[in-house]
């Protein structure tokens, strides 16, 4: 069960603002985390606490293919990202490295910044504790659920190679 307060953003939050390109010669997650969201939300790092949740409207993570973006978010202590929709490369990258993402329009429309949420990933259930409401996110397709339950793409690939499924 994940629990944390919400940091809310709008549409088309791109990877350049999640982690500016000037830091892309760094690939240590903790170092990247120090610059997470700094061009869009200067105080993000001062406010964020372990377990917190990022919420946004549509097309979250659009732009470049940099895995540094979900890495920085995860290392900053964010437990999951909830949005109406995600850009596809960001979506793959997050699933591959084990940053949970949930698509749920209703939850986004009925949650404000600072609200406290409780998320049950196995059921896709999002509980807004502040407002006493519960929402259900779209389930992961089986194929993706297998990657997630393996612990990410690297572990999944190891399993595939070992079982000769390549």
């Amino acid at each position: 069960m994940l629990k944390g307060k919400v940091h809310k953003y709008g549409a088309d939050v791109n990877t350049d603002v999640i982690i500016p390109a000037r830091y892309l010669n760094i690939y240590d997650p903790m170092e990247l985390a120090k610059h997470c969201m700094e061009d869009i939300d200067e105080d993000f790092l001062k406010r964020v606490e372990p377990g917190d949740i990022i919420m946004a409207t549509t097309n979250f993570g659009c732009g470049s293919s940099r895995e540094h973006a979900p890495m920085a978010i995860k290392a900053a202590g964010i437990s999951c990202v909830i949005a109406k929709s995600f850009a596809r490369i960001f979506f793959r990258n997050a699933i591959n490295i084990g940053l949970p993402l949930l698509e749920c329009e209703e939850a986004v429309d009925n949650t404000e910044a600072g609200d406290v949420l409780e998320v049950d990933l196995s059921k896709g259930e999002i509980k807004n504790i502040t407002r006493g409401r519960t929402f259900t996110a779209s389930p992961y397709p089986d194929f993706m659920a297998e990657i997630i339950s393996s612990g990410g793409l690297i572990e999944y690939t190891k399993k595939r190679l070992m079982s000769g499924r390549v």
Binding site: D16, P20, L24
Partner: protein
């Protein structure tokens, strides 16, 4: 099946694939650069296999922070050289290379009918030669380097039809900015875009690369063109291996078909901070500028430099402006030199740089200060993209960027070419 479905099906053990299905597609090329390769190498080493699946299909390009910006990027270059040497993978070294998406087609590495993945969102550029090419992250690269395949969700395809003949100074950049302006930055989210119509038939290969390059700016997974005589002519002398040409079936299904009449389309300029903020150059108003960038994986090819040189010939860059021209590859640089284009740029007072992605992503060679404005032939104008979070980037074609370099404000090429 449409073009994307046909190519994907040919890379699986299925006869037919449909949108929404998950497949493991065999990959023909796995490309990475000095931003995505370091993490890919580290993740590859965790998988526990000693060799990549096929060293000839692993291509690494030093182009983003290269020639090295600082010690950290030098360390990354060193790591990539060591990995490629050990794995016998293909490494494109400074002085023999260029920007990945200009370089790989020019080298005949990406070809029609292939499935190509690249650790760079603009990998979709290769769709110009009928390749199903898509951007992925570093962990995807690592897995594919080990197995030779990658999971994909078969995308729905949106077909775009461009009717009419383009006016002077209007090209691939204007078609794609206009399209993104119409459908929005998530207008083709998760979808393949198939570009067709008489304006596309008439478009040069360089113009097609520009359009395919920016499919990702509409959220697209791939941007595909049909292989025609122009493609064949372009490929013929370059292809490093055999390839298959696919055509959509007559009864191919599309999620949507969007038609544009582009006969009256003007050069487009996308205002900050979204590629979708496109408007005609003549309606830009008085936007004073500090810098013009002509180059990148979007517009760093010979046709682009020719258009810029046509404008700059015999003129001077405005005293309030810096104009930086970056040929996309060593080949483009050499060709431009032979045609006298580089001389035109230098006489006009422009700086000419060695091939690099440098300024496009705010890396180096043209980073902006607070409050500065740049007209750029690149592909993104997000907040802070080219430097300070309070700087601004205006996206345009090379002729508009060159005309603006002359006047110091956003300018339609007709104004300086009367």
């Amino acid at each position: 099946m449409n073009l994307a479905e046909k190519i994907l099906a040919a890379h699986t053990d299925r006869k037919k694939v449909s949108p929404g299905e998950f497949v493991n597609a065999k990959v023909d090329v796995v490309m990475s650069n000095d931003i995505t390769a370091p993490i890919a190498i580290k993740e590859f080493q965790k998988i526990g296999v000693s060799r990549v699946f096929d060293p000839k299909k692993i291509v690494m390009v030093l182009d983003h922070f290269m020639p090295t910006r600082d010690i950290a990027s030098a360390e990354i270059g060193k790591m990539m050289r060591e990995f490629c040497c050990e794995q016998k993978a293909v490494l494109f070294e400074i002085g023999k290379a260029g920007i990945e998406h200009v370089l790989l087609p020019e080298q005949g590495i990406v070809l029609p009918g292939q499935v190509v993945i690249g650790g760079d969102s603009h990998t979709c550029t290769y769709g110009a030669v009928g390749t199903f090419a898509t951007g992925v992250g570093s962990t995807d690269l690592a897995a594919a380097m080990a197995t030779g395949d990658l999971w994909m969700k078969v995308p729905p395809t949106i077909k775009f039809v461009y009717n009419g003949n383009l006016k002077r100074w209007v090209g691939g950049k204007d078609l794609i900015l206009h399209t993104i302006g119409d459908i929005g930055v998530d207008g083709a989210l998760y979808s393949a875009m198939e570009f067709t119509g008489e304006a596309i038939d008439a478009l040069s290969m360089d113009g097609r690369f520009t359009m395919a390059n920016m499919a990702i700016e509409a959220g697209g997974k791939a941007g595909l063109f049909h292989v025609d005589n122009k493609t064949q002519l372009y490929i013929k002398s370059k292809a490093q291996r055999p390839y298959n040409v696919y055509e959509p079936d007559p009864d191919a299904e599309y999620a949507r078909v969007i038609e544009y009449d582009v006969a009256d389309l003007e050069p487009q300029v996308s205002f900050p901070h979204s590629p979708a903020n496109a408007r005609p150059a003549s309606q830009a108003g008085n936007v004073e500028l500090n810098q013009a960038i002509i180059g990148s994986c979007t517009n760093g090819r010979l046709d682009d430099l020719r258009a810029a040189a046509q404008i700059l010939k015999g003129k001077k860059v405005h005293p309030s402006m810096r104009c930086i021209v970056i040929p996309g590859s060593q080949q483009v640089y050499a060709d431009a030199l032979k045609e006298g284009l580089i001389e035109v740029f230098i006489e006009a007072g422009a700086a000419v740089s060695t091939p690099t992605c440098g300024p496009c992503f705010g890396g180096h060679t043209g980073v902006l200060a607070e409050g500065e404005r740049c007209i750029s032939t690149t592909n993104r104008n997000f907040v802070g993209r080219m430097g300070h979070p309070k700087s601004e980037v205006y996206l345009a074609n090379p002729a508009v960027a060159a005309a603006s370099a002359v006047t110091g404000r956003i300018t339609h090429p007709d104004e300086v070419m009367k």
